[in-house]
């Protein structure tokens, strides 16, 4: 049965409110176009002006971030960031959130998150070589957490495995503040030839605009608007706004796109992500200073009787929009047909700078294209600085158990236990280039046949950001930089995925502003520019916000992957060195929350000069082949880092007595630190070299045995550590008690 197109509803204040536009925003819209909008036009505006697409609350702050360096080819503003990695190659990468859909429908929300970020990367001409993800879930005891973990992990695997890209790294955390709002941040990394990168800006008048990929359906209408609203108890009712991922179609789309790009058919290309056809068409026109006319009757539809409004706002997946070189039309169409994909000319570029949409012979929208994109409201929202917390003295933290018991408990805690259960559901070896698999500081992925390789990581410590957004923002960047350094890579650039609560609340806005300031300061100091990113706001449920979570995805390069370092102890009788200063910082540490059940104090400050000095020193040792194992010291502190090295290798260590209060030394989370091993004969001169370079380094023990044996303390068998480390996640996900 064919549905008759119904008469579009009248635009009333109530309808405007349903579209997420504030009354003053609606007035602005009317004055821009000089009249009241039609129904389809209102939909188009709401899609372009929501927080997700317009960055209206964050824009003025994002502008302060450092985005340039001699190796940056494309900074923020395109589908993804692009950096030069030498030998004529470019790395294209970005991270993006899919938080709200994943909470409502975890499997499909996660799959479409992965699909969307992969499209962002291959739209620019890159073949994806790796994916990462950063996941934040509610407390293990929350009734929804287990189902969300299972669904999200299966969804990420379900898409990436089928698409055929290795998922090589990431992070997983649990905290009660994510109970009603989990975070799914997905990152994709691709490689292209430096002079064959494709952009979104259209050029040339009268050029055909081509619709590629899957058909348009009624799924995901207003998804971006949902992503820009808070949750309440009825949020489960929003399930129909979540789209369904089809990795098979995306794999075909990838191959077809790369083929038409290789045949030089493409002038401009843009994926249809949030706000679908609307956003992609407007961006292509606005960036190219051109108008766009769309003929909706030519759009391939999955269902009959779709209205213009539905077509313009559908977020059906696995679709692209392209401006084609007219003389290449036949060739491009043949390639898409070969791959069994839709190919339809749905419009053309015009000289008018108007965005005109026609349907059933009628003009359903006629809007100024620049204003739609560039004149979105920009807010300098009031922001209140987060009050500083007092520094917690180690003497004020009474250890409730001995070091051995604390370590065994820590490595089996939700935030520190093995993530094997997660990454074994991701194909992390496909493409045959994964040099360092998940479980290390950073993944190392060979580029083409090598010897060049990329190091990849995703990091943030939300509890630090909550306690001090500025220091927390710095720390997220520093930790990503440190993880890349720990495998021997030269850190090059980051993508940032900023997840926060409702920006209309000054204290939340204060977190956003503080974190961005911290990120900017660290990125500047470490020459680690931001080249792409995504902002996800309104992560709140019933008025309670998530922890501020600015996830940093870092990319570094190794000239030769065979020189990369890993965290496994390589042999017995190696000298163990600690690089960096240990004051025993327990404020906001995992020891404090897991062992003492306290979450308080100022987080560890990040001394960026020391960070850089220490990291550069460690990287030099790796390049010289002197460091035989390297691990950064982060969550859980020094003894947890040593335990991870021992568990990964099956080789234990004899450790000297703690030179300061034991639990502060072993579990403090001071920054800018690394553990490394060297040949025993070299230890002395390396410590001397460190001192000469202004780097604090000391010998703390020797590898060997099958336990971590601390002088004058209990010995902790590796077998016991492994049992604790490996059991929590499988047992929790199987229904065991948290």
């Amino acid at each position: 049965m064919k549905r008759k197109p119904s008469t579009p509803p009248r635009v009333t204040p109530a309808l405007v409110a349903v579209h997420g536009l504030k009354p003053d925003e609606y007035e602005r819209l009317k004055s821009l176009i000089g009249r009241a909008p039609k129904f389809t036009e209102l939909g188009i505006f709401s899609a372009m002006w929501n927080e997700h697409c317009s960055y209206k609350s964050s824009k003025i702050h994002l502008k302060t971030l450092p985005t340039t360096a001699s190796w940056v080819i494309q900074g923020p503003g395109e589908n993804a960031g692009v950096i030069d990695i030498g030998d004529g190659l470019a790395c294209i990468f970005k991270m993006e959130s899919h938080n709200h859909p994943s909470y409502i429908e975890p499997y499909q929300g996660a799959t479409t998150g992965v699909g969307g970020i992969l499209r962002d990367v291959f739209t620019m001409g890159a073949r994806p070589i790796a994916c990462l993800n950063a996941l934040s879930f509610g407390a293990p005891s929350h009734p929804k957490t287990r189902q969300l973990v299972g669904g999200v992990v299966a969804g990420i695997g379900g898409y990436g495995n089928s698409f055929g890209v290795p998922t090589v790294g990431g992070e997983v955390r649990f905290h009660t503040r994510y109970d009603g709002n989990c975070l799914v941040n997905a990152m994709a990394v691709g490689i292209a030839e430096k002079d064959k990168i494709f952009y979104a800006a259209a050029s040339g008048v009268g050029m055909p605009i081509v619709y590629l990929g899957s058909k348009t359906g009624r799924d995901g209408i207003h998804g971006a608007t949902m992503a820009s609203a808070e949750f309440d108890d009825d949020s489960d009712e929003k399930r129909p706004t979540v789209q369904v991922g089809d990795p098979f179609s995306e794999k075909l789309l990838l191959e077809a796109c790369l083929e038409i790009m290789a045949k030089d058919c493409v002038i401009a290309i843009q994926d249809m992500g949030a706000a679908g056809l609307t956003c992609s068409a407007v961006e292509m026109g606005a960036k190219g200073d051109l108008g766009v006319t769309l003929e909706l009757d030519d759009v391939p539809c999955r269902e009959s009787g779709m209205t213009a409004y539905e077509m313009m706002l559908s977020e059906s997946q696995e679709r692209m929009l392209m401006v084609l070189k007219p003389e290449k039309e036949k060739e491009a169409e043949a390639i898409f047909r070969k791959w069994g994909l839709d190919f339809a000319i749905v419009g053309k570029t015009t000289p008018t700078k108007r965005f005109i949409v026609k349907h059933n012979g009628k003009v359903v929208a006629d809007l100024p294209i620049k204003e739609l994109g560039d004149e979105a409201p920009v807010y300098d929202r009031p922001h209140a600085e987060t009050p500083k917390q007092p520094v917690l003295k180690a003497a004020d933290v009474v250890p409730p158990m001995n070091t051995a018991e604390a370590l065994i408990k820590l490595v089996g805690s939700p935030d520190l236990c093995s993530r094997r259960w997660v990454w074994e559901q991701y194909d992390h070896v496909i493409l045959g280039n994964t040099v360092q698999r998940p479980g290390g500081d950073a993944a190392v992925v060979r580029v083409n046949d090598g010897p060049k390789a990329l190091a990849l990581t995703a990091d943030v410590t939300p509890r630090y950001c909550e306690a001090d957004p500025f220091e927390g923002g710095k720390q997220a960047v520093a930790e990503a930089w440190r993880n890349l350094t720990a495998v021997g890579a030269t850190p090059l650039a980051v993508t940032d995925n900023l997840n926060f609560g409702n920006p209309e609340r000054p204290e939340i806005m204060g977190q956003l502003v503080g974190c961005i300031r911290g990120i900017g300061e660290a990125c500047t100091a470490l020459e680690f520019p931001v080249v792409s990113g995504n902002v996800s706001l309104y992560n709140e449920t019933n008025g309670r916000a998530i922890l501020p979570t600015p996830t940093i995805g870092g990319v570094g390069v190794l000239d030769n992957f065979e020189g990369s370092a890993s965290l496994t102890f390589k042999a017995a009788d190696q000298a163990i060195l600690l690089v960096g200063e240990t004051k025993g910082w327990l404020g906001q540490s995992i020891y404090l929350s897991e062992i003492c059940e306290r979450e308080e104090g100022a987080p560890p400050p990040v001394d960026l000069a020391a960070e850089r000095r220490n990291g550069d020193f460690v990287r030099t040792l790796i390049a010289e082949g002197v460091a035989t194992a390297v691990h950064d010291v982060s969550d859980g502190g020094l003894l947890v880092a040593l335990a991870e090295m021992a568990m990964a290798s099956g080789i234990g260590a004899d450790l000297d007595r703690a030179p300061i209060v034991a639990h502060a030394f072993w579990f403090g989370e001071d920054q800018a630190r690394y553990v490394l091993t060297v040949d025993p004969g070299e230890a002395g001169q390396i410590v001397d070299r460190a001192n000469a370079a202004g780097v604090l380094a000391r010998e703390i023990g020797t590898t060997g045995g099958d336990a971590l044996a601390i002088a004058d303390d209990r010995s902790i068998p590796i077998a016991k550590l492994r049992e604790s480390f490996e059991s929590w996640l499988p047992s929790f996900t199987a229904g065991g008690h948290p």
Binding site: A154, N161, G164, P247, F248, V435, E562
Partner: protein, 233 residues
């Protein structure tokens, strides 16, 4: 050795396989599109690689098994030509009737990617002559549906005729449910057809061939095929 790698829509380990074939045999394999109806002249070995042909929609391998090129693959096998199906390729050649049995979902119902240990049961086949009987090799698996099963008579025949070439095992070669990650009957990881020229296996030997990538245990399979063809020539 002239190899042909069949490419179906949704296949995604064809590049891994092509690189390995080139590396071990020194010759670039032909990449053959599913809609073609003939193999390149002189093809010694047909490889049906891993991936998610047709998205694994309907049933793993079911659609690919009916693609135009499969008649040519069946004809090649019938003439005694060598056929290797890996992962989705194993599923496809089972669906195509070149091997008995099916691959069900892993017993834990999850996709599993990890290194596993395989016991090589025989070394007197073209596919395993690069190994010793009883040797244990380490290779990765990456599948959600690798749980091999067939009816009792078929299993008895496979076992009786020595057609199980690889079994999931412990690092010291013991058959143990703890080391059989997908629950396959008799820990079967790879089987031979009755003529001995078609091998299907779930694990990915093509991902373990380079010393710089950490492990070369998969190399023996390809090196053995090269030797076999050299000898036959």
């Amino acid at each position: 050795m002239q190899a042909a790698v069949i490419v179906f829509p949704g296949i995604n380990r064809e590049r891994d396989m092509a690189r390995t074939l080139k590396l071990v045999s020194g010759r670039e394999p032909a990449m053959v599109w599913h809609a073609d109806t003939a193999l390149p002249a002189g093809t010694d070995l047909v490889v049906v690689p891993g991936g998610f042909s047709y998205g694994d929609y309907l049933r793993c391998g079911a659609i690919a098994a009916r693609a135009p090129i499969m008649d040519a693959v069946r004809a090649h096998a019938a003439k005694g030509g060598l056929v290797l199906g890996v992962c989705n390729g194993f599923q496809i050649i089972c669906e195509a009737g070149l091997l008995p049995g099916v691959l069900m979902r892993n017993q834990n119902l999850k996709f599993i990617c990890r290194d596993v240990y395989l016991r090589v049961e025989r070394s007197d086949t073209p596919f395993t002559r690069g190994y010793n009987a009883g040797q244990v090799i380490r290779v990765p698996v990456a599948h959600g549906e690798g749980n091999y099963i067939a009816d009792g008579k078929t299993i008895a025949r496979l076992e009786g005729e020595g057609r199980v070439l690889f079994r999931y095992a412990s690092p010291d070669g013991m058959i143990d449910p703890d080391w059989n990650h997908n629950g396959a009957i008799n820990a079967i990881a790879g089987i031979l057809n009755d003529e001995g020229n078609v091998l299907g296996m779930m694990p990915h030997p093509e991902n373990h061939v380079e010393p710089s990538m950490g492990c070369t245990d998969g190399r023996g399979l390809f090196a053995g095929l090269v030797d076999h063809l050299k000898q036959a020539a």
